[in-house]
């Protein structure tokens, strides 16, 4: 009986060691979180004030919205997509939409949205970026287009979603103060 108990304790000890080894292996697979310094820069090459001719389904209303332009061909867009999916509040915002430009490979847009958990957002799969380049002369991502009153008010290159939306909110507040 004592022998059986000793054996059981020995097996348990080995199981605990294996468990910790597995945890260590899993921890090793999780990448170290990078300290991101928020970057937000206007894109002077994008003509402002234009009114888009066509407005695709799936996006928020064009009167007042922020379009975040991502591309399947862009690795830095994957980081933005990760930020978007990590914060559930972003998807609930009715004024935020995503434009996912696709590369040469067919069907990459839906796959990108699925891979990064963006299905809850209002988004439009822009085949080869044709729509966003025709309407706004933009072939760069990640980028953000801010529309007010149906017109393109500002265009940004950015790396931090929270900083972008804060800037958009500040701009809106400032304009409202000017009006009143």
């Amino acid at each position: 009986m004592l022998f059986v108990l000793a054996l059981a304790v020995f097996v348990l000890a080995i199981a605990v060691v294996i468990l910790f080894a597995m945890l260590g292996q899993l921890a090793g697979r999780v990448p170290e979180p990078e300290q991101r310094v928020p970057f937000l820069k206007s894109l002077p090459e994008i003509p402002l004030g234009g009114v888009p001719g066509e407005w695709p389904p799936g996006l928020p209303g064009r009167q007042e919205c922020t379009l975040i332009v991502l591309s399947t061909i862009c690795r830095s867009c994957a980081d933005i997509a990760q930020q978007l999916s990590a914060e559930p509040g972003y998807a609930d915002r009715s004024d935020v939409g995503l434009v996912i430009a696709t590369g040469a490979r067919a069907g990459g847009g839906e796959e990108f949205a699925e891979r990064h958990g963006l299905q809850r957002f209002r988004y439009f799969i822009d085949e080869h970026g044709d729509w966003v380049s025709a309407q706004f002369d933009l072939r760069l991502s990640p980028a953000a287009l801010v529309l007010r009153g149906g017109r393109l008010e500002s265009a940004y290159s950015f790396n931090d979603v929270a900083a972008l939306l804060m800037k958009v909110g500040e701009e809106k507040k400032r304009q409202e103060e000017v009006r009143t």
Binding site: A15, M22, Q25, R29, V37, F39, K41, S71, T72, I73, C74, R75, S76, C77, A78, A101, G103, A104, R105, G108, E111, H128, G129, R139, L140, S141, P142, A143, S157, N159
Partner: protein, 116 residues
């Protein structure tokens, strides 16, 4: 529980004789449970490698995530091709790459400009 081939158990249902059988059964049950747990853990942890392999192999050059291996500029930019610019912030400055994908045959390349 009282099988035909175990006359002792059926003849004498006292706790003293039922004890060892009960302990053996419990031990077997717990052993089975532990073994199943380990097997499930092995399947779960073993599968992660396979899941990584199942995803599409993308080729990273600068901030580009290319569908095909880097073929060089001349092959990608000739004929029917697609170019998109990506931007990545490195040390506070925006580095940009032109990511090129050729439709058929499948070529990719990236032309990166690093900010001074």
């Amino acid at each position: 529980m009282k099988g035909k081939d175990s006359p002792r158990a059926s003849d004498d249902p006292s706790p003293a004789s039922a004890g060892p059988t009960c302990h053996t059964g419990r031990r077997r049950f717990l052993g089975g449970l532990g073994g199943s747990g380990l097997a499930v853990a092995a399947v779960i942890f073993g599968r992660s490698q396979g899941a990584e392999a199942a995803t599409i192999a993308l080729h990273h050059v600068g901030c580009c995530e290319l569908s095909y291996a880097n073929s060089g500029r001349s092959s990608c930019y000739s004929g029917h091709h697609y170019v998109w610019t990506c931007g990545e912030v490195v040390n506070g400055t925006l580095d940009q790459c032109d990511c090129c994908e050729h439709y058929s045959p499948n070529y990719s390349t990236a032309n990166c400009v690093v900010s001074p």
